[in-house]
Symmetry: C2
Subunit: 343 residues, 2 copies
């Protein structure tokens, strides 16, 4: 069964039927996997379809089943550093189920967000995933009378009936602080970002909790909140070095702050990790690896968050019920900026 390939037009189900010598409805059943027929017939049809480069029109199939086998992702992160690993991992889970992803980028513009949702609904997506630049609460999206699953990832709906998947910020901070305690550190500072971020408040809470459990002091001068930048990291580290009694460890709210702090200490002749150990947050590879010494950091496991989101969406799409806020564990990635105290 050999034929010249047709390159200039799409072959139709009719062409496949003709080539395989069966009826159109047999082709349809053979390719959808449904219906009863002899295995040889099914093979013959598949071979004909391959020869002609024919694949069943999934638009037509979707319409028939009233399922599009596509979902929409609405991002307000301009698909930045945090969204990408999430989207990538989710894409992998869903692609394995033959589900395609429409991506829309709303960059914090509510009007544009409405338009995007409207377009996604017109495309009859089977679900929507909302992801953002920060994990803070946001209003739920308006589905205008439709009823499809919506989940929030690295983003949190004000509507508690929705499922929100987030990294466990408090738990991550506990991990970082306990790691420093386990190294024998006793005066642990925390330099972090703006308190307007829920992540800043939760990480601070985790830091305080770990210190309390270890019955360690928490002098207020060791807590410094500022910007998410290297400049702030350098500035804050200098303040700590100027204290009558400087800290012996610093837990930083992100890797940029940690890098700034480490640069400041190196230039002041303070040894990291011997004099002061440092732990960052985000495990942003390019930043952590460029630190001197290389930076120990907390990883939010964003790929796992994305895979979990994909699995949750599949569950919801097949009629399961999931709601509320779920926080996934972070992990500690140990490099050279944290080590035991110098003897």
């Amino acid at each position: 069964m050999k034929m010249p390939r047709h390159r200039r037009h799409s072959n139709t189900i009719r062409d496949v039927a003709a080539l395989a010598g069966v009826s159109i409805s047999t082709v349809s059943k053979a390719l959808s996997g449904g219906g009863r027929m002899r295995p040889e017939t099914r093979d013959k049809v598949r071979e004909a379809a391959n020869t002609l480069g024919f694949r069943p029109n999934s638009l037509a199939q979707s319409l028939h089943q009233n399922r599009s086998r596509t979902i929409g992702i609405l991002s307000t992160d301009r698909f930045g550093r945090f969204s990408f690993p999430i989207v990538e991992a989710m894409e992998e889970v869903l692609a394995n189920e033959g589900i395609g992803i429409f991506m829309c980028n709303a960059t914090d513009d509510p009007e544009r967000e409405k338009q995007h949702i409207s377009q996604l609904l017109a495309k009859r997506v089977d679900g929507i995933v909302v992801t953002a630049r920060r994990a803070d609460r946001r209003p739920g999206i308006e589905l205008i009378g439709r009823d499809i699953p919506v989940i929030y990832v690295f983003s949190q709906s004000e509507n508690n009936n929705a499922l929100s998947l987030l990294p466990d910020d408090e738990g991550g901070a506990v991990l970082a602080t306990e790691h420093l305690l386990s190294l024998g550190r006793r005066r642990i500072a925390h330099i972090t970002g703006p308190e307007g971020f829920e992540a800043v408040r939760l990480r601070h809470r985790g830091y305080v909790r770990a210190l309390q459990q270890a019955r360690m002091p928490q002098p207020p001068e060791l807590y410094l909140s500022g910007a998410w930048s290297e400049t702030w990291g350098r500035e804050a580290a200098q303040k700590l070095l100027d204290l009558a009694e400087p800290p012996d460890a610093i837990f930083c709210g992100n890797d940029q702050i940690a890098r700034g702090a480490i640069d400041c200490m190196r230039e002041a002749g303070v040894s990291v990790p011997h004099d002061i150990a440092v732990v960052g947050y985000d495990n942003w590879e390019v930043m952590a690896e460029a630190c001197r010494p290389r930076l120990t950091s907390i990883d939010m496991n964003l790929m796992e968050l994305g895979r979990e989101a994909g699995r949750a969406l599949l569950q919801l799409m097949s009629g399961g019920k999931l709601s509320g806020v779920r926080r996934l564990p972070c992990s500690l990635v140990i490099r050279h900026s944290s080590g035991p105290v110098k003897h």
Copy 2:
């Protein structure tokens, strides 16, 4: 015309017709913008559709027109730093035309790439955009008998009939080198990445061309090729400082190399830009702003590349012909690491 909203099921065209008091075919014509009717009738139908939260099923429309008004993006960059701005800008251009984007991530796995293409074709996408981690040549994708537009962005097809859109690497390097020459610099070094990258070879060519045009010497010891990292930047800068006659400027192949070079010089007590001016490449905001001093860099205008890709795809989708390699201009972003020679 007021009605309770139906929240639990999708309203149908039949509901809209009943509410507006017209026939189903009138609703269809009114909402598609086609057909003749009095403006009042069209308004009445639209109002009814709004009240019921009804929007025409674009799956059904697509099937009818044999157009899905969607395109696929196939990335091998894991949607990383170079892909995001391109995809974001393209998405904006296409969303304005009501065209949705399917994203697929093939991460350099040819089998997975084939699967993705097959799925995109099954979804009857109207076009495919291929984007990558680096702008090097790659085999064209196989459409298995279909004939839809394919373009390569930040990626180059070995097939010259395809359209490839790339940043003008040679031109960017000329910009950087001429900027340093215009500041009175006379011994300009070039530290760059691995020569396996086409971008490395083209940027080197631009650097050489600008020096030749200015009749400047090009001592071979001023050209250093290594890795795309800060570590290599520091190492290479140290080699340059150790020369009998060090350079008075360095053009770096990316911003990470530039940052490493600047750190090395600061720690060696060499003033940037007074003793040695530095220009980077990529204009990676977070890196350029964190440099001390802030880094002058070449911007590849990836957003513009994305917009151009969106426009080119629209042209191809409406029957236009475009092919070959097009290189878009880069621009120079001046910050504090480049300035006139010290007097």
